[in-house]
Symmetry: C2
Subunit: 293 residues, 2 copies
């Protein structure tokens, strides 16, 4: 299918960056329509070169497009798909960019017998939000997970895969559930840890503000994602609650085991554990690079 | 006191960077002597412009210098100071760059009635080690904690403070114990968390290696310090064991409390918690910048 018009519902960091990547690197010669509720933000997106046309009328925004990408927070994705279903052409493909997949895919598939929805999750982003932080290279070398089900139309999957590849992603296919299990540990759990580390540090700093002077680079790294959007991330953590809670339990057990070894004071065992972590991380990074190549 | 010669015992990342900062930005017109056990590493340090002279003979290295900086791993600092005490001039000042202070300062002060040792901890570094990763700007805008005691000579403190300021640090004075309490949370705890996150992720990856494909930027940030030197960090964690274990307990309690709120599924409370973390981090960073200005 030849794509002439793409609608982006939501023009924040992800939608804006996708529009920029499509338009500015000439990956896509057609028209990108930005759909949102806030006229000012839409105008900003247009002036930044993220979209060609803008509208706050969701029905008008999607009526003549071949592809719709919903980049709004996870809780809003299924309700938005429901709203646009009566307005789109029969062959229009819909995808999203939500950080959790099983609840979204299940909701959408329960809404309609159309097999033209494909769940997507580009593993790109930042603790910053809003189109003013969008960049055309946000997806370059990122992994995008797509989560087809038995119902998914193969042509639709092909088209969505091509979209993400076009903007620089390596596309990985996983089931929605598998995706949610793994990102619970690799992406959602880090937000819980960062927030908790900041919380205990802030408590110390309330007793003596000089604590703020000894915040090392390791603290900055560990706490960076605590600066993410609370609205977005509370939706993600709650939406993937069971898997996140499982991840937290695994993590707590691991830290308790580390603490036991430390308490025993056996230098060799502490060193062995740190060395294993270092080797694991090296292997994770190396193989991550391998699969991305 | 006019400084003509400085000896760096240990020419790794910290020693090498200190030498480069002193020599390459003309902060110091005198001679920097690199002292170490490995002739090849010393030669590399000299060829990288980190030191002027090199020697594997620790006694000869320190005999005519006005200032000695011991930049070796924490466990070796006090034993090295003991070895050099008989060889240095009466007025030579000694400092270090160890990540824990109370055990080091106590050991050194028990060795000698000289008040010319000042504990230092520049909060700079990286998960990389070795002089080949040294850079002359490693200390630029970093905090360096100095930990004088009632016994410390004021002239020695002044000289050591000037050294770190010269290479770009903001110098903060704390007691050795206060320092160790706070870095247990802001620097040592992050290493335990990073190592544990990597460990549980690696365990998932052993079951299905596709896990490696969904490692998000948040995972990379959170796990970076797991790539640090295991020898160095097992010494630090064990040397500051009580405070680190206390930090772990605080953290475990905080995560458990987060898990409870998540389990209850109250979106408002999860969001409030994330928002508090975001605000706290913002205030920590802002005031950190303030104090550094």
């Amino acid at each position: 299918m030849k794509i002439k018009r793409i609608a982006l519902i939501g023009v924040g960091l992800i939608g804006g960056s996708l529009g920029m990547a499509l338009k500015q690197d000439r990956k896509f010669a057609g028209t990108v329509v930005g759909v949102g509720r806030n006229q000012e933000k839409l105008k900003l997106a247009r002036s930044l070169g993220a979209v060609d046309e803008i509208t706050t009328d969701i029905r008008r925004g999607v009526e003549k497009v071949e592809l719709v990408v919903v980049t709004t927070p996870v809780e809003t994705i299924a309700p938005l798909v429901k709203r646009i279903l009566p307005c789109i052409r029969p062959q229009t493909v819909i995808t999203d960019a939500g950080s959790i997949k099983a609840p979204v895919v299940e909701s959408v598939e329960s809404l309609t017998p159309r097999p033209l929805f494909v769940g997507s999750h580009p593993l790109a982003g930042s603790e910053k939000s809003g189109v003013r932080h969008a960049r055309k290279d946000l997806f370059k070398d990122a992994v995008c997970v797509v989560t087809p089900t038995v119902r998914t139309d193969r042509e639709a999957l092909f088209l969505v895969t091509r979209l993400w590849r076009n903007v620089g992603c390596r596309v990985v296919e996983l089931s929605p559930c598998q995706h949610d299990q793994w990102v619970a540990v690799s992406s959602h759990l880090p937000h819980v840890l960062a927030s908790s580390l900041v919380e205990i540090t802030a408590r110390l700093a309330r007793k003596d503000k000089r604590v703020k002077q000894v915040l090392a680079a390791s603290f900055m790294d560990l706490s960076r994602v605590a600066s993410s959007d609370p609205e977005l991330w509370s939706q993600i953590l709650l939406g993937n609650r069971e898997a996140v809670l499982r991840g937290i339990r695994l993590f707590q057990r691991e830290v308790a085991s580390f603490a036991r070894i430390l308490k025993e004071g056996k230098g060799r065992r502490v060193k062995a554990r740190l060395r294993r972590g270092k080797m694991f991380r090296y292997s994770l990074l190396r193989e991550k690079e391998d699969v991305q190549r």
